[in-house]
C-alpha cells in the first residue's frame, strides 16, 4: 500500500491516536483454473438477460448467454453464435449459425432458439430499458437449419450490431419459464462460456466454467461477482486482497493505485460522451435571464453565445484536474475508434478573453444570469465537473448558479419538467452512449430535430434543429455501404460540432484495478468480462 504515510500519520494520527499502521494486507493470489473475484460498482438487478439492459446486467449475462454477433474490446463485430453473415439487399440480412454450439443443458442451439429469443426480448412485461429500440424494425425467418434471415422495414446497415445486444436463450426452457426462474437459475440456461451457480441479490453472483463451450476457454474455472458500490470501499477491497479485480476505480484513487507495485490498472475510453446541452427551442428560456432576473430572449439561439461558451470552457483542465485522467477532453460526438468519428475535428484551446469579447459582440457585454443543472450521482465526479464549468463561465461574466440534483429527480425534469411537458432546463449536463459502437444512435437521437412521429431526436432535449443536417443523417442511416456511410457520418459530426448543437465535454475513461498478476487491456463498452482477464506472463 503506497499511501503517503507521512501525510496519513500526521493527519489521521492526530484524530485517531496513531496505532500500528505498518502491517500490510495479505492477498489471495489468483491461479490458472482458479477463482476470479470481481468487485462491481453496480449491482446486477436480475439474471434475466432481457430485463433492463444496463451495463451491470449485460456484463453478467454476457458470461452466461451468447449473442449471434459479439463485440470485441473496441466494439468491432466478431462472430458469436453466427459464424458469418451477409447483407443480401438493403433490407435483408442472412446469418449462418455455428455448428456445435450447445446450451448448458446439452441441447444444441438452433435457429428456432434465435427467433424465440428475439420475440421474447421485445416483449418482457415491465422491462423499461428494453431491446425494442434494436428489434422493433425487424422480422425473423428461418431459411434452413443453419440460416436465419432478418428483414428490416427500411434499409438498415447496422443489423449485426443491433443484434449483438440480444442474448440467446433456449426456446425449450424459455417457453415455460417464469420471471423468477431466471434469478433462481432454473431458466438461466444459455450457451455462454460460464454456467449459473448462485445468485443472491445484492450480495453475490457465482458462475462456473461451461466445459462444452464452442469458443476459447476462459482461464478461470469459477467467477464471483460482488457488488461494492462505494468507490473507497471497492478500492479497499482490492488493496486488502478481498477481490482480484474491480471496475470503476474512482478518479481520486487512480494516481496512488498506479504507484502500487502489487496492483495494475486497465483502461478503456468509453463509447459515451458527456456534454452540455442548451435550450435552443424556446423563445424565452426560464433559467437564462437578465442579471436582475427579468426575462430576456433565449440567448442560446445565438450561435455567438454558444461559441463563446464553448471557448470559455477549458475541457483539458476539467479532464486533468477534476477527472484526474478518468476522462479525455471531447472535441466531437464520439471518441476515436467508434465508427463515424471524424479525425479532422480538433480540440479547441480555451480562450476566456476571446470568449468574453464574443459574448460582448453578441450583445451581452455584462453577461446574463443562468442556472446550470445536472445530476450529482450519475457520472464520475459529475457535481465537481458542474462546479468547474460554472467557474469558467463566471470568468466571462455569466452570473451562474449550479443546481445539482439526484438523477431520479433530474431526468424527469430534463425530459418533461417544463411548461406543457417540454424539457425544463436551459443549460444542463447529460451524457449519451454510442451503445452500438458507431455514431448513428447519437446523430439520430441527440442531434436530429425532435420529431414525435418518426421518433427521431428522442433525446434532443435542447431541441436543436438543422434541416440540412437532418437530411444528411437520414441519408447516412439508409446507406449500407460502409465507406460511403462513414463519409456521410463524418460530415454530420463536423456540421453538428460547427453548429454547436451541444458542447461535448469529455469521454469517460473506464478504469479497472486488478492484482498485478492479472492482465486486461480495457473495453470501450464498460463491461467487465472474466473472459477478458488473463494471468500475466
Amino acid at each position: 500500500m503506497e499511501l503517503d504515510r507521512r501525510h496519513f500519520l500526521s493527519g489521521l494520527g492526530m484524530l485517531l491516536g496513531a496505532g500500528s499502521l505498518l502491517r500490510s494486507a495479505p492477498a489471495y493470489a489468483v491461479e490458472l483454473d482458479g477463482t476470479l473475484i470481481i468487485g462491481m460498482s453496480t449491482e446486477s438487478s436480475s439474471m434475466d438477460p432481457h430485463w433492463h439492459i444496463q451495463t451491470a446486467n449485460s456484463s453478467v449475462s454476457q458470461h452466461l448467454f451468447d449473442r449471434i454477433v459479439h463485440m470485441d474490446a473496441s466494439q468491432n463485430e466478431v462472430p458469436g453464435l453466427a459464424e458469418s453473415w451477409r447483407n443480401v439487399d438493403g433490407n435483408t440480412w442472412e446469418f449462418t449459425l455455428r455448428e456445435g454450439a450447445t446450451f448448458h443443458n446439452g441441447d444444441p442451439v438452433t435457429v428456432e432458439d434465435l427467433i424465440f429469443s428475439y420475440a421474447r426480448a421485445s416483449d418482457v412485461p415491465g422491462a423499461i430499458f428494453n431491446l425494442r429500440a434494436y428489434l422493433g424494425d425487424k422480422t425473423f425467418e428461418k431459411v434452413d437449419d443453419r440460416t436465419l434471415r432478418v428483414i428490416t422495414e427500411q434499409p438498415n446497415p447496422i443489423v449485426p450490431r443491433e443484434l449483438a445486444t440480444t442474448a440467446i436463450i433456449s426456446k425449450k426452457v424459455g417457453e415455460t419459464a417464469l420471471p423468477e426462474d431466471y434469478n433462481s437459475g432454473k431458466a438461466c440456461i444459455g450457451s455462454g462460456p460460464y454456467k449459473f451457480v448462485e445468485y443472491v441479490p445484492g450480495q453475490v453472483i457465482q458462475v462456473e466454467r461451461h466445459d462444452g463451450y464452442w469458443g476459447e476457454k476462459p482461464q478461470w474455472s469459477r467467477v464471483v461477482f460482488r457488488p461494492i458500490p462505494t468507490g473507497g470501499s471497492r478500492v479497499a477491497a482490492l488493496q486488502s486482497g478481498d477481490v482480484n479485480v474491480i471496475d470503476s476505480v474512482p478518479p481520486s484513487d487512480v494516481e496512488h493505485l498506479e504507484k502500487d507495485a502489487k496492483l495494475r490498472l486497465g483502461r478503456g475510453t468509453a463509447n459515451r460522451m458527456i456534454f452540455l446541452s442548451f435550450d435552443q427551442g424556446r423563445d424565452v428560456s426560464p433559467y437564462a435571464t437578465a442579471k436582475d432576473g427579468s426575462a430576456i430572449p433565449n440567448p442560446f439561439k445565438n450561435h455567438l453565445v454558444r461559441d463563446a461558451f464553448d471557448l470559455a470552457i477549458d475541457k483539458k483542465a476539467i479532464a486533468e484536474r477534476i477527472l484526474s485522467g478518468n476522462g479525455a477532453p471531447a472535441e466531437q460526438l464520439v471518441p476515436a475508434g467508434i465508427f463515424g468519428h471524424n479525425p479532422e475535428i480538433a480540440l479547441r484551446d480555451a480562450d476566456a478573453a476571446k470568449a468574453k469579447a464574443m459574448l460582448e459582440e453578441a450583445g451581452y457585454p455584462d453577461g446574463f444570469k443562468l442556472t446550470l443543472h445536472g445530476p450529482n450521482d450519475r457520472f464520475i465526479r459529475d457535481s465537481a465537473v458542474l462546479q468547474a464549468v460554472a467557474q469558467m463561465l463566471a470568468r466571462i461574466g455569466i452570473a451562474i448558479e449550479v443546481d445539482a440534483m439526484p438523477a431520479n429527480i433530474f431526468y424527469k425534469r430534463a425530459a418533461s419538467g417544463g411548461e406543457g411537458g417540454v424539457p425544463e432546463f436551459s443549460f444542463f449536463l447529460v451524457g449519451y452512449g454510442a451503445a452500438t459502437g458507431e455514431v448513428s444512435g447519437v446523430l439520430r437521437n441527440l442531434i436530429h430535430s425532435y420529431d414525435d412521429a418518426s421518433g427521431f431526436g428522442s433525446n434532443n432535449r435542447g431541441r436543436y434543429s438543422n434541416p440540412d443536417l437532418d437530411a444528411l443523417i437520414e441519408e447516412g442511416m439508409a446507406t449500407v455501404d460502409d465507406a460511403k456511410r462513414e463519409e456521410i457520418y463524418r460530415k454530420c459530426c463536423a456540421m453538428a460540432v460547427a453548429d454547436l448543437a451541444v458542447i461535448p465535454l469529455y469521454y469517460p475513461i473506464s478504469v479497472w484495478g486488478m492484482q498485478s498478476d492479472i492482465q486486461f487491456e480495457g473495453r470501450s463498452d464498460e463491461r467487465t468480462l472474466a473472459m477478458d482477464f488473463h494471468l500475466a506472463g
Binding site: 500500500m1 489521521l12 485517531l16 496505532g19 499502521l21 500490510s24 494486507a25 495479505p26 438487478s45 436480475s46 434475466d48 430485463w51 439492459i53 412485461p125 415491465g126 423499461i128 428494453n130 431491446l131 425494442r132 429500440a133 434494436y134 422493433g136 420471471p179 434469478n183 443472491v200 441479490p201 445484492g202 450480495q203 453475490v204 460482488r226 457488488p227 461494492i228 458500490p229 462505494t230 473507497g232 470501499s233 479497499a236 477491497a237 488493496q239 486488502s240 486482497g241 478481498d242 450521482d377 439526484p406 438523477a407 431520479n408 429527480i409 431526468y411 424527469k412 430534463a414 425530459a415 418533461s416 449519451y432 451503445a435 444512435g441 439520430r444 418518426s454 421518433g455 428522442s458 433525446n459
Partner: protein, 326 residues
C-alpha cells in the same frame, strides 16, 4: 391489555394507510422510473407505451386505487428494477439487516451500560472523564466518515478485517445468517460497530445521567444504611431505575438502527434493506419503497408496544391501559 393491543393494531393500519398516501403523492412529485431507466434510443412512442404499461399515465388516485386492490390480494406490486414481487425482494434482504441491527444494538448495550454505570458511580475518576469524552466523540462524527476510517485502518492498513460484503453464511430455519460462521462474524464486526457507536454513546450518557440522578436519593442511602451490599444496591435499586430511559432508547433506537442502517450498509456493501431502500429511492422503485415503509411502520408499532409493556414492568406507576385511556 388485549383490547389495547387491538387498538394499537388498528392505529397501525391507519398509519400505514396515511403513509402509503404520502408516498404515492411524494413519489409522483419526484419523478418516474421511465425517464430514469429508459433506453436512450427509445422513441417517444415507446416512452408513452411504457408509461401506460405501468399505469403511470393514470391520475394518482387511480394508481392508488389499483395499489389498494392489489393489497387486498396481498400483492404489493412488482419491483420496477428486480422484476420480482416487492415483498419477496425485501424479505430476501430482511435477515441481513435484522442481524446487523441486532448485533449493533447488542454491542451498544454491551459498551454503553457498563461504561455508563462506571462513569455514574465514580463521576470524578479520571477513567470516567475519559469515558465521557469518548462518548462525545462517539456521536460527534458522521457515521459514513467513521465507516470509511474503519475500512481505511482495519482493512487497508492493518488488514485485520474484510472491507465489506457479508461473507460466508449458514442457512438456519431457511434464512441465511452470518453470525454462525467466523468469516461471517468478521464481516459483521466493522459495520455493526460503526452502527453501534452512536447508540452506545447515547446509552452510556443516559445510564450515567440516570445513575447520577438516583444515587443521592433517600432510598438508595437508606439501602446503604440498611447494610445492603454495594453490589445489591447498584444492581437492584440503581440499575432498575436507570433502565427506564435506557430501555426506551434501546427500543426506539432499534427501529432507527434498521431505518438508518442505510449509510453503513452502503459503505460496507452490506446486502440489507437499508441499501435496498437507498437504491430504490434512487431508482424510484415505488413498489419496493411502499412495501419497505409498511414493514418499517409495522416494526415500529411493535417496538413501541414492547417498549410500553417494558415501561409498565419497570415502573409500576405507569399503568399500561390507564396511561392510554385517560
Amino acid at each position: 391489555m388485549f383490547a389495547s393491543i387491538l387498538q394499537r393494531i388498528g392505529q397501525a393500519v391507519f398509519v400505514m394507510f396515511c403513509m402509503t398516501v404520502v408516498v404515492f403523492i411524494g413519489m409522483n412529485l419526484i419523478g418516474n422510473p421511465i425517464d430514469l431507466l429508459i433506453s436512450p434510443s427509445a422513441t417517444p412512442a415507446e416512452r408513452a407505451r411504457l408509461i401506460a404499461e405501468f399505469g403511470l399515465d393514470q391520475p394518482i388516485w387511480v394508481q392508488y386505487w389499483r395499489f389498494l386492490v392489489g393489497l387486498v390480494h396481498l400483492d404489493l406490486g412488482t419491483s420496477y428494477i428486480f422484476n420480482e414481487p416487492a415483498l419477496r425482494v425485501i424479505m430476501q434482504r430482511f435477515p441481513a439487516t435484522i442481524e446487523l441491527a441486532l448485533a449493533a444494538t447488542f454491542l451498544s448495550v454491551l459498551i454503553g451500560v457498563p461504561l455508563g454505570l462506571y462513569a455514574g458511580l465514580r463521576p470524578y475518576a479520571p477513567l470516567s472523564r475519559f469515558i465521557m469524552t469518548g462518548s462525545i466523540l462517539g456521536f460527534s462524527l458522521p457515521t459514513f466518515w467513521v465507516g470509511m476510517m474503519f475500512i481505511l485502518v482495519f482493512s487497508v492498513q492493518l488488514g485485520w478485517l474484510p472491507s465489506g460484503g457479508r461473507g460466508d453464511t449458514v442457512t438456519l430455519l431457511g434464512v441465511k445468517w452470518s453470525f454462525l460462521t467466523w468469516d461471517g462474524l468478521s464481516h459483521m464486526l466493522l459495520p455493526a460497530l460503526n452502527l453501534a457507536l452512536f447508540k452506545a454513546s447515547l446509552i452510556l450518557r443516559l445510564t450515567r445521567a440516570g445513575v447520577a440522578e438516583v444515587l443521592p436519593q433517600d432510598y438508595v442511602r437508606l439501602a446503604h444504611a440498611k447494610g445492603l451490599s454495594a453490589r445489591r444496591v447498584v444492581f437492584v435499586h440503581v440499575l432498575k431505575n436507570v433502565m427506564i430511559p435506557v430501555v426506551t432508547v434501546v427500543g426506539l433506537e432499534f427501529g432507527s438502527v434498521i431505518a438508518f442502517s442505510v449509510v453503513t450498509e452502503t459503505i460496507f456493501a452490506w446486502p440489507g434493506m437499508g441499501k435496498l431502500i437507498i437504491d430504490s429511492i434512487n431508482n424510484l422503485d415505488r413498489p419496493i419503497i411502499v412495501a419497505y415503509l409498511m414493514i418499517i411502520v409495522l416494526l415500529f408499532v411493535t417496538i413501541n408496544l414492547v417498549v410500553d409493556i417494558l415501561y409498565t414492568v419497570l415502573d409500576p406507576r405507569v399503568q399500561f391501559s390507564k396511561a392510554r385511556t385517560r
